[in-house]
């Protein structure tokens, strides 16, 4: 497991005793941007989903950011599905959803049809 860049997660106190071990799964075009299908990470114990996503953007750069956040930079893309332990969480609450030990976070791009 690797530790996410502490500087990317603002105001986090990262210490060995306070780390959470979580798994992150990437799907579709997000997988292409992260160049992997899943990974395990250690993050600060008070991390929210929103903070985790910001940290991942810092790790994986612009193409990953474009998959997650709206072009304005604020808020998550409407066609992004985020689940924690297979349950869809509401975008508006990602900053309030605290992660727990062994959580599995999955990021799916939605591909609405054209027809």
């Amino acid at each position: 497991m690797k530790k996410i860049n502490a500087e990317s997660l603002v105001d986090f106190e990262i210490g060995a005793e306070s780390l959470l071990k979580v798994k992150i799964q990437y799907f579709g075009s997000i997988r292409m941007a992260a160049h992997k299908s899943e990974e395990k990470m250690e993050i600060a114990s008070n991390s929210t989903v929103y903070q985790l996503l910001q940290g991942l953007v810092d790790l994986y750069g612009e193409s990953f950011r474009e998959e997650i956040f709206q072009e304005s930079g604020e808020g998550l893309r409407e066609d992004l599905m985020v689940t924690v332990n297979e349950t869809i969480i509401k975008h508006v609450n990602t900053a309030e959803v605290n992660l727990k030990q062994a959580d599995v976070i999955a990021l799916y791009p939605l591909f609405p049809g054209g027809g």
């Binding site: 799907f27 579709g28 075009s29 997988r31 292409m32 474009e66 998959e67 072009e71 409407e78 066609d79 992004l80 599905m81 985020v82 689940t83 297979e86 349950t87 869809i88 969480i89 509401k90 975008h91 999955a106 799916y108 791009p109 939605l110 591909f111 609405p112 049809g113 054209g114 027809g115």
Partner: protein, 617 residues
């Protein structure tokens, strides 16, 4: 008018005659094009109550409001309308490629075809020249090479655009479609059968006229911006992976129709995932006229008995012929999609119908003798492909399943109607809506039957904007807003892959509309126009006999809970559906029987049609 030609071409195949008519800015402003024109023309031209395969059912082609211009991701689209043989209600389907722009460059915004030729013919429109040509030699032929290319060769012009049917349309298969530009289809509601019922093999077009726009300098500026947006983050995923990437998403959320909706997860989803198809089977991507998205993923089967088969890959047909039939071999699925294109069948419906037949077979309602020796079991890719051919050609018991799920269940009986998954006669699409309650409402009220593309409401459930498992009154306004917006997207006609590039979105769309046509339009006026079109479509369906009881869901959706995955136990009860229906009707200003009020019709400028509503009350 700019952009609009202002001309309608009427062709009567019974008499072999044609005429043109003009329309003015009133129609353009109030109905835009695409859906608006199609619904308006159909309600005004269809003799109420006639059979969908009656020669007098008009087959109506319409261009989008900005067809033939430089506006990206819109310029090539067109719509086809008629009374649907599948539902008996509004039949509508949209396609892209290059045919739509060619119609306008040939000088027409609307083409209305009525009557029935004595023998097979095709229509050849070359600017002002309109000819009805012999197609006896093309009858019984497949679409792409045997018809489309043959017509080009026969007429000696490789730039001719052809929209045509295959054997399924000739054989009046209830879900036959109309194919153009090799891989594109006006797919849903069985409009290929309407074409076939007229002994019409296809419509060939060549247009050399210019399409003028009102404010070219400003339009160029805006289009440059739109092109950049269309190449950017909002659409890049369609170019890189395409909609097939939905496979794993739906599977993870127990929303993936599997084995005729007996399950909502597929154990071999990875084998047919968009990721795998892209990596191992897609050989190139290509795009439509005036579109930078390049979203068409062309795949080739690489091994086995179907090696060399070619198909355009999208999630819906991949789902329908893959997990829905229990098939995990991409080679067979590619062949199945190729069969759909070549024989001219809705690539969604054929997969849903074959999956339905597989359950009938496994339950002993049809036999091996009836299937011509095929072991029609879930998971058998060979059986899936071969049975699809039998349906297109109406061979053996394929003749029964060519009637669609609803029609076939009536003939087969034995309780099969309880697992015939359709709404209003149109087969279900790639979302198991038992655990997607907003989408469930959208599907129930969709004017063309089971459909995710008249509202897109699954996005609210899967995007996490609402609790996907909860039925509540607020969903009524959500679905209404989605439907009215989609009416405008389908009237302009804007490819929904690019829905994310339009700011507002009504404001951006209104601005483009005004720059192109010179007709003043605000975002709010456009929103109101979407509502007008929704209501007119409702009136059309009411006139054809639709009532509240038709706004419903398949038996399995309402009675058999999802057996597996994160949505296990989910279904839509009658109480939940009624709750959402009441809210939806109220939001629309309709009675609790789903009939628009006189006040609403007055507000929308539809009082000319008030008698239809009055009769239904």
């Amino acid at each position: 008018m700019n952009a609009y030609t202002g001309k309608i071409l009427y062709v009567d195949l019974t008499t072999g005659s044609y005429r043109t008519a003009s329309f003015d800015e009133t129609l353009s402003k109030n109905y835009i094009g695409g859906t608006g024109f199609g619904v308006k023309m159909l309600i005004d031209h269809l003799k109420p109550g006639i059979d969908a395969l009656d020669p007098e059912n008009p087959l109506i082609y319409v261009s989008g409001a900005v067809s033939g211009t430089m506006v990206p991701c819109t310029a090539s689209k067109f719509g086809v309308f008629a009374k649907s043989p599948a539902t008996g209600f509004l039949g509508e389907a949209y396609s892209t490629g290059r045919w739509g722009a060619e119609l306008r460059m040939a000088g027409y915004d609307i083409l209305v075809i009525t009557g029935k030729a004595k023998k097979p013919v095709y229509l050849w429109i070359n600017d002002n020249s309109v000819q009805i040509k012999n197609a006896v030699h093309l009858w019984g032929k497949t679409t792409t090479c045997e018809t489309e290319e043959a017509i080009r060769k026969e007429l000696g012009d490789q730039d001719i655009r052809v929209s045509c049917i295959g054997q399924a349309g000739e054989n009046l298969c209830k879900f036959a479609c109309i194919i153009n530009d090799h891989y594109r289809a006006a797919g849903r509601t069985g409009l290929g059968a309407v074409m076939g019922s007229k002994n019409l093999k296809g419509v060939a077009l060549r247009g050399t006229n210019s399409v003028t726009v009102a404010e070219p300098d400003e339009l160029v500026k805006m289009c440059k911006d739109l092109y950049e947006r269309a190449k950017g983050p909002a659409t890049v995923k369609y170019r890189t992976l395409g909609t097939a990437a939905n496979m794993l998403t739906m599977n993870a959320q127990a929303a993936l129709p599997t084995r005729n909706y007996q399950s909502a997860t597929f154990e071999n989803a990875e084998k047919v995932s968009g990721e795998r198809i892209k990596e191992e089977f897609v050989v190139k991507t290509q795009g439509c006229s005036a579109c930078p998205c390049r979203c068409e993923h062309i795949a080739i089967a690489k091994e086995g008995e179907y090696k060399g088969a070619v198909a355009r890959i999208e999630y819906e047909p991949l789902m329908a012929m893959g997990p829905h039939c229990g098939v995990d071999d991409p080679n067979a699925i590619i062949k199945g999609i190729e069969i759909s294109n070549q024989y001219g069948m809705d690539a969604i419906s054929i997969g849903i119908v074959v999956g339905f037949a597989m359950e009938c077979y496994e339950k002993g309602l049809i036999t091996k003798e009836q299937t011509g020796g095929l072991e029609l079991n879930f998971g058998d890719g060979h059986a899936m492909v071969e049975f699809a051919k039998m349906i297109a050609l109406r061979e053996g018991i394929g003749d029964v399943f060519a009637e669609g799920c609803k029609g076939a269940a009536k003939i087969i009986g034995g309780g099969s109607e309880k697992f015939a998954n359709h709404i209003k006669g149109l087969e279900m699409t790639g979302y198991d809506i038992r655990g997607l309650k907003t989408a469930a409402l959208g599907y129930a009220v969709s004017r063309r039957g089971a459909d995710h593309q008249r509202h897109g409401s699954y996005g609210h459930d899967l995007g996490g904007k609402v609790d996907r498992y909860k039925a509540e009154p607020a969903r009524g306004k959500i679905v209404m807003a989605d439907e009215d917006l989609y009416c405008i997207l389908d009237s302009i006609i804007i490819c929904k892959f690019t829905r994310g590039i339009w700011n507002g979105p009504y404001d951006d769309i209104a601005r483009v509309y005004s720059l192109v046509t010179g007709i003043p339009m605000t975002g709010e006026e456009l929103r109101k126009t979407g509502e007008r079109i929704s209501n007119l479509a409702r009136l059309f369906n009411i006139r054809e006999g639709l009532t509240r009881k038709d706004d419903t869901l398949p038996y399995r959706t309402m009675n058999d809970p999802i057996p597996d995955g994160v949505a296990k136990g989910s279904y839509v009860s009658q109480e939940e559906l009624d709750l959402m229906l009441d809210a939806y009707y109220e939001a629309r200003g309709w009675s609790n029987r789903g009939v628009p009020s006189d006040e609403k019709l007055d507000e929308l400028g539809l009082s000319d049609y008030a008698a239809i509503a009055a009769q239904a009350r």
